[in-house]
């Protein structure tokens, strides 16, 4: 939203400077969402939802500074690794992104559904129901292909679909408020102090995880139309499935934070590859930037990078400097915020979070109905919590549903003139199917059949 708001101010600026300004804002906004997610359990952006799951648990344990330090440091490293990958692989990924069609996007969405099932916190059936309800809710609104209303019941508000930010504020923030009200005999959160160096040491411990999720985030960024909100879940899921301590996930896992934050920050540089080289935006902010460039009479495309190679380097430098700035601001402002919130009595915190939830959902579109939406999802979140049903798969269902799975499936069929064969015969589709099958095999089948498992069981029994 900030990129869209600031775009107005760039009309009179030099085109390159306007892109540099907007890219810095995008980067700062992507990182900034993790602060409220960690301290208040209110994700500032859809991409910071997995951060809220682990970060807020760490805050509850008194490790808010550790969580914020990890957020700021891994975000910085994720951004840097994304930038290095952008410089190294831009020509290769440009070719690859040109091979991406609706068939491949559909497989990406399907991969997301499997991730949703993985986020089920032990009860896969519950998680799958939550994900399906999320997919169902995402169908509400105007059909993106033929424009007919779906489940809107004649409401103008519902025609625009269920807004994601108010829904997430409800599922995470309001749920926290209601939860706090059911048990008022709570103490203030403790606070263990830590430095950025401490966070850097923790990051070093999980550096290879950080490298892996950076590559994942960058690839997702290059693929047009998926965005950081999906990549943070992919990174989180990768961290969870490769972790030696999966039991810590959902209870304040450092690996979960690294997975989510690194992946969504590496996604930002990735989204610049298709917009600069093909004129195809990788996500919503780059779509706005493309619009700004076109307003200035610049049309990015294959020849653009040949004639203006300096643009890539200048954007890379701008994003790197923005990264340094958000480390400084995030470290000091974040610490200040944490100390302020932790020292505030818990009773007052409930009122603050309630007001911020209402205000945050209202401010998204300056629409009162958004407050109702947040409130509805808050009640839903409390009911789900009471039933032991995880909310994360529902959030992922909302993200993946109508905008990705439905649209891409139907686009693919329209493009293939009704044939489903390209889903299984296109080279990139086959590669994605093999990738999904391999991930599923290593996540669900291999742990049950791997050599040594019987031996392990024997040792435990003894």
């Amino acid at each position: 939203m900030t990129v869209a708001l600031l775009a107005v101010f760039t009309f009179t600026m030099d085109p390159l400077w306007s892109i540099i300004l907007l890219s810095a804002v995008q980067l700062g906004g992507t990182y900034g969402g993790s602060i409220s997610a960690t301290v208040l359990n209110i994700p500032g952006t859809p991409a910071s939802a997995p951060t809220a799951i682990e970060g807020y648990q760490l805050t509850k344990k008194g490790e808010a500074e550790v969580a914020l330090g990890i957020n700021v440091f891994t975000s910085f490293m994720g951004n840097n690794m994304g930038l290095v990958l952008l410089l190294l692989t831009m020509p290769l990924f440009v070719k690859l992104s040109m091979m991406f069609g609706p068939w491949e996007m559909f497989w990406f969405g399907t991969f997301g559904v499997f991730i949703a099932a993985n986020l089920s916190e032990g009860d896969t059936l519950m998680g799958m129901i939550a994900a399906t309800v999320g997919l169902i809710i995402s169908c509400i609104g105007i059909d993106p292909i033929d424009g007919s209303p779906r489940f809107t019941f004649g409401s103008t508000y519902l025609s625009a679909g269920i807004p994601l930010i108010p829904a997430m504020i409800g599922l995470f923030g309001f749920t926290e408020v209601f939860d706090g009200l059911t048990d008022i005999k709570v103490n203030n959160f403790p606070l263990k102090k830590t430095s950025l160096l401490g966070a850097a040491r923790l990051w070093w411990k999980y550096r290879w995880l950080s490298v892996r999720v950076s590559i994942l985030g960058y690839i997702i960024g290059v693929a047009p139309g998926i965005g950081a909100s999906v990549s943070s879940w992919v990174g989180y899921d990768h961290a969870r499935t490769t972790s030696k301590e999966p039991e810590k996930f959902g209870h304040g896992s450092i690996e979960g934070l690294i997975g989510s934050e690194t992946c969504n920050m590496a996604n930002v540089p990735g989204a610049y590859a298709p917009v600069l080289s093909l004129g195809v935006p990788g996500d919503a902010p780059t779509a706005i930037m493309l619009g700004i460039l076109m307003l200035h009479g610049i049309r990015p495309g294959p020849m653009f990078m040949v004639t203006n190679p300096e643009w890539l380097y200048q954007i890379v430098v701008a994003l790197f400097i923005s990264g340094i700035l958000f480390v400084i601001i995030g470290t000091y402002a974040g610490k200040g915020l944490v100390r302020l919130f932790v020292s505030t009595p818990r009773t007052a915190m409930s009122a603050i979070v309630a007001v911020l939830c209402a205000l945050g959902s209202y401010a998204t579109n300056i629409n009162l109905m958004d407050v109702y939406t947040a409130f509805f999802f808050g009640v839903l979140g409390v009911v789900m919590k009471g039933l032991g049903m995880p909310v994360s798969p529902m959030v992922l269902g909302l993200i993946l549903g109508a905008d990705l799975l439905d649209v891409e499936f139907r686009r693919a069929l329209l493009a293939g003139k009704g044939s489903i064969a390209p889903f299984f015969t296109r080279g990139v589709s086959i590669a994605l199917i093999v990738f999904i099958a391999a991930v599923l095999f290593f996540q669900h089948v291999y742990p049950k059949i791997k050599p040594g498992r019987k031996k392990d069981r024997k040792v435990i029994l003894e």
Partner: protein, 149 residues
Amino acid sequence: MRKPGEIVVGLCFLVIGICFTAGAVKLQIGVPTEPQPGFFPFVDGVILIALSSLFLFRAWGGRAGDSHAFGRIKGPAAVVLALVLYVATLERLGYVITTGLLSAVVLKVMETRPRVLVLVSLSLTVISYLVFDRLLGVTLPPGILTAFL
């Protein structure tokens, strides 16, 4: 042991799935090679019916998943009511008055002392108004205080 609560929840999901599937059929499903607007909701609805049937089967057999007991209900119910009234009166009464009242209700439910309640409600309302309305430029409804704000 059968869990009546989970059976009710399973039935709720089943009904949602059936209603959604019926709604999708009304929208026109089309055929897999030429899907219409109802196709994706129809698939989702059918999946929900299948999953909720499985859930019901499991709850009936007594192998229900972990559920957490709800805590106090009275406090959250008061806040739910306050939130409904908040949204309903926000434009008419304005942000300052409604937000002050909402935070006061939350603090009252949390059994805060009256003096702290007034202090926190007042400061929270004023600070959030100044930050969002004046600093960030988010137009918050002035309501009956239009002349003063």
